[in-house]
Symmetry: C2
Amino acid sequence: MNGQAAAGNHPVDADRIWADLMDLAAITDPGRPYTRRSFSPRFLEGRAWLADRFRAAGLETRIDPAGNLIGRLEGTEPEAGTIALGSHSDTVPDGGRFDGTAGVLVALGIARTIVGQGIRLRHSLEIIDCLAEEVSEFGLSCIGSRGLAGALTPQSLDLRKPDGESLREAIARVGGDPDRIAVVARDDIRAWLELHIEQGRVLEEAGVDLGIVTSVVGITRVEIEVSGMADHAGTTPMHLRHDALVAAAGMVAEVRRLALRRIEAGGGYFVATTGELTVTPNAANVVPGKVRLLVEARGEAPDSIKVFLGELAQGTRRIAEASGVTLSSYRLLSEAPPTPFDPGLVSTLEAAASRNGVSFVRLPSGAGHDAVFFSRIAPTAMIFVPSRAGRSHCPEEWTDKQELALGALVQFDAILELDRSG
Amino acid sequence: MNGQAAAGNHPVDADRIWADLMDLAAITDPGRPYTRRSFSPRFLEGRAWLADRFRAAGLETRIDPAGNLIGRLEGTEPEAGTIALGSHSDTVPDGGRFDGTAGVLVALGIARTIVGQGIRLRHSLEIIDCLAEEVSEFGLSCIGSRGLAGALTPQSLDLRKPDGESLREAIARVGGDPDRIAVVARDDIRAWLELHIEQGRVLEEAGVDLGIVTSVVGITRVEIEVSGMADHAGTTPMHLRHDALVAAAGMVAEVRRLALRRIEAGGGYFVATTGELTVTPNAANVVPGKVRLLVEARGEAPDSIKVFLGELAQGTRRIAEASGVTLSSYRLLSEAPPTPFDPGLVSTLEAAASRNGVSFVRLPSGAGHDAVFFSRIAPTAMIFVPSRAGRSHCPEEWTDKQELALGALVQFDAILELDRSG
């Protein structure tokens, strides 16, 4: 925390937000830290608690067709549309206390301030707890925001959990109306503002209060299967080997080398990772016969991912040939383009930060968020608050109360400005 | 097959050896190719079949205290001692038809020839089916040959299978006498000759009939744990990463580089392998936080392994430092020195091969065998027959009948020579 805002009296009550965060975190699967998996009994318990809080704050509370929990304050000019803010209340297994909930509960704190101070907004204000942002048991993430944006396909609704329940049935069970999802893509939202923890170390390293998020990176995943020959590790001389792991190790190094080359070439944020590597047969006395790698590239610029993919295909082919192995499979598993956020909304957030003496950097989000789907139907931007040591999706996840307070302050101020000018 | 022996009439009946091999292979766990795990009902069924064959060949058949099945032909000069030959009849799961059984059934074929031709040897002759050569459910290999050589410790006898049975109990169950193992280390054996499939491609590449084995390599295993930081693969810029897999990949390459350096430096056969590599958490969107590697080095010369281990320790430390990760564990798991075979016996085998026009190369064995333990109590040597494409421990394991015939011929001739001169 660096800005002069640290010393000031904030309109948004951070102590109350903090108490809410700890109360919601206490609703967790027995004996596990911070687990409210979407669609589970514990998730519904958290939602019931949240709905009570929404109502207690004076918000008109409902569940929309896609299963999102929404608290609404009607504006003075209904035709002005809606300013929406929030995030999600579901967690990964053994997750943290801030991912998603920070955005929902800061938004609730802001709504309380607006009601408490008797502020009458022209726009309606909605606090949205998006359904199932984390990858759910259906193998899908961002279910509520997809639904709200008209991006939930009938095929998706037919997905089934391991226990046999379909997504359609599950959405109905949590209070949604799956048959109406297709017809209710929202067209009234004038802005989606999502506050979220960074889940990285960029803000901490930069020593700033906040991040103003300019885009969400594109994400591409490639699956590579390297096939050599599973020979006896004692009886096969080095020159007769077709070692799939030696080749795969070269590819892991290549992935990093090519990522660094993209960064040197400019074009903004770029990362590439070999996150999964599985060896077969994986025995001490057998030369590895097969290796499966999962390579992920994320970048701000669509071009940088494209160039990387071309170089990766070439590099892995070259390494396979030199190592006497084959690429028995090479598949593009998924390809999501970058999502640039609304420049006007980004400027509004920056101006609000500057007005309040809150230090910040612009940065792209390396992780996906509900904001990606909101951006299809409305001007969208995000605020990141720092994550201690970058930890996330684990019990050690942490953001200071004062950091949340500054994020709340900037978001609150931006909303007032949007309401005046929008 | 290259030598002039191919055209000759062999004293040892290869058709009968082949028929025995196929008969024994047919005794396998239902629905699985070639599985007779030591101590299992199927193993005992195979042994019962073998004991019948031994008796039918005129051998005095018994099980020794260590659980080895032995068929014996008494010699004319009891004080001359015993020439022993054989291998093992247990298999790995889903193994082949030749590993171990080839040595036992060629030996049986030789005994049949000796009996059939009315040859009276001065030495006693024993055909030994060593108990549990493959790594058993007790986690131990070469149980019978260890026992016979006085190398089975009381601690080993207390090892237990997953079902709770101790090795002591299991040896008694298969007909051994565990309490007598310690007192019966054999001192009467004048030679142990083991024929085995090569389990590699050296003979095939060299285009020769046989391998005469000069030693068994030393085997050393090192477990390395690389610890970095399991960061979000999207939100953690490349320069802030501590990627355990990138570091481990460098170590995999280093293992190969250092092995090639040992070979260039001379000092005989040397191989090194990273056979196991396990990534944690192994998820597409997480920078690998931990990697466990198992590195194995095998070499003919004790010095070459020692130098390799020194360079490996240095190389991995250097890579860890350069990659911003730590070696959270670095353990020597096991260390078995090379076993040189008896030079006189090796010469006897070479002379027998030359006399019969059988082409051969000298080579070290990259794999362990019962012969390692026999070499502690008797002059020992081995014959390798070729393995098609080096395949072993799998249903595709294959050696031609004619190749077995040449191995049998050389072993038979060497025995007659040993009996004359020994």
